[in-house]
Structure formats: C-alpha cells, structure tokens
Subunit: 109 residues, 3 copies
C-alpha cells in the first residue's frame, strides 16, 4: 500500500476527483494554502495499492499539469487614452506536486 | 517512531481524542472532507513509538468502527394519510481508514 | 527526496515560512488544531532533498523552539483593592514537532 499526497490548484480538484472516482480510487481532501503553488491549493491524501500508483499519477498529469492559458486582461477603470489597446496575455495555470510514501500498515475499520 | 494517519468521521473524533489522551498519545487534527468517508471527516496525525502503534489502532477500532444504527426517520411535514407509519431504519455510521508510515527522524524543539 | 512534516504554533509560521523561502524551500500550509500544541497550530508539508533536511530542521529550531516569555497579565476589570499589584509572568510559547518521512517517488507536473 502506498500513500500518494498531491498538492494541486483548487480549480483542478473537481476534475481530478471525478477521474480518480471513476477508477475506484478514493481521496481525502485537506484545505491548504501557499507553498508549492501560490494560492488556493488543495492537498489530497490517496491510499492505493503499489500497482495503482502510476494510474493516480497519470490522472494528475492529465488533469493538473502546468499549462499556458490566454487571459483577457481587465480594462483599466476609466481608461480613456486612445493608445490603450487591450489584448489577451498568456498565463501559466495548474501544476501539481506529488509525493509517494510507503505505507507499512493499512486498515479500514 | 511511526506516523499514524487516521481519517474518521467528525462525530467520532472527540471520543477517540479523549481515549488517545488518556494513553498519553497526542494527535493533531486537520480539517478534511470527502473521499474515504462521505462527508464531514477529520484527519488526525499521530506520532507514536513503534510499540504504541497497536494501541492507537485498538482505540480507533473501539471508537470509530463502522456500525449499524437504528434511526427514526423524520415524519413528512404535514403528512396526514392514515397509511403513514414511521419506523426506525438501519443506517451505517462511523468507519475509519488508518495509514501507518515510518518516520526516519522525529524531533520536538 | 524527503517529506518533512512540521507542526508549529500559528504565530511562528510567518517567520519560518520566510526563512524557508529564502533558502528556496517551499512549504504547503494545512490548517490544524489541538494535539501536540494546545491551540491554533499550523501543519506544514515540506518536500526537500535528503541533503537539505537538516537546513529545514535548523530553521524550525531557530524560529519555533519552545521558549520563555514575560507577559503582562491583564488587570482585573474594576479591580480597586490597594493590595493588587500587577507584575509580568513567565509563560512558555512556541515549540514544534518535526516528522521526516522518506518519499519513494516525487513528481512535479
Ligand atoms: Ni499509466
Ligand atoms: Ni492491543
Ligand atoms: Ni545545519
């Protein structure tokens, strides 16, 4: 048995939890902040057999990988200069950190 | 030294914490949700010597095991039919998941 | 790779997080309570290479060690007896518990 600890962005959590659920993998969600990811992150505790660890990691890669996204910046309030021309900017979203730890003893009671 | 991670239902936490405290075992409580247990769960981090792990597991089994409970369903509001006869139904409550992880280095400062 | 789990008092967290940040070490913060420390504690998850574990422990010792502090007690409301003479009392603050756990597999995606 292994314990997989995943730290991911809040907004990527629902899709990952759905994907894990479809594979019959249960996760416990802890409220967390800061650190590996700037703000609003979630920490998941996932207990799986050694054989299923790579499936969990695959799901995290699929749903939480760091990626580029085009975002329309908010127009400046009261901006009136003719030279202002808003255009989408590229930002990085997502990203996750995964720790796999050995479990010596696992019980469900 | 071992780290025992217990995920249990919120309502079983106070009795377990009391039982651990009587054995001189301290636990740190993390707010958690979903996953192994449907809703309102608590995650405990418990650091104990190898020799005391079974005592912690015994306490979890005693206070948190999955069990049947008879619950009186709430009467339907404004229910007036003579045929309605409320009776207790059996539900499953409690349950806990336990992970024991080896601790390579333990310090209190 | 090692996972260092630190349980410390809330009020010591900002200085420790700054110190870790200066060393290029990232920490994820979990809300926690009770247990090792009486009230208002924080749990940090810190992933570092084996070589940097002692640096993390050094930072925790420097910023979170249990220490004595003189505190001025609050005057009793409406206290009027001439015999009342407030004086500072010594209290213990800080303190932290550190667990170091081996990480079998570490990934950032
Ligand atoms: Ni695969
Ligand atoms: Ni026993
Ligand atoms: Ni050093």
């Amino acid at each position: 048995m292994k314990l997989v600890i995943v730290i991911l962005q809040d907004k990527d959590a629902p899709l990952l939890l759905d994907a894990l659920n479809e594979k019959g993998v249960q996760a416990t969600k802890l409220a967390s902040s800061g650190g590996f990811l700037r703000s609003g992150n979630t920490t998941l505790l996932i207990g799986v057999s050694k054989e299923k660890v790579h499936e969990v990691i695959d799901s995290v890669k699929e749903h939480c990988s760091s990626r580029k996204q085009m975002v329309n910046p908010v127009s400046p309030v009261g901006g009136t200069t003719d030279s202002y021309l808003p255009f989408p900017v590229e930002v990085t979203v997502g990203g996750a950190t995964i720790f796999v730890v050995d479990v010596e003893n696992f019980e469900q009671v």
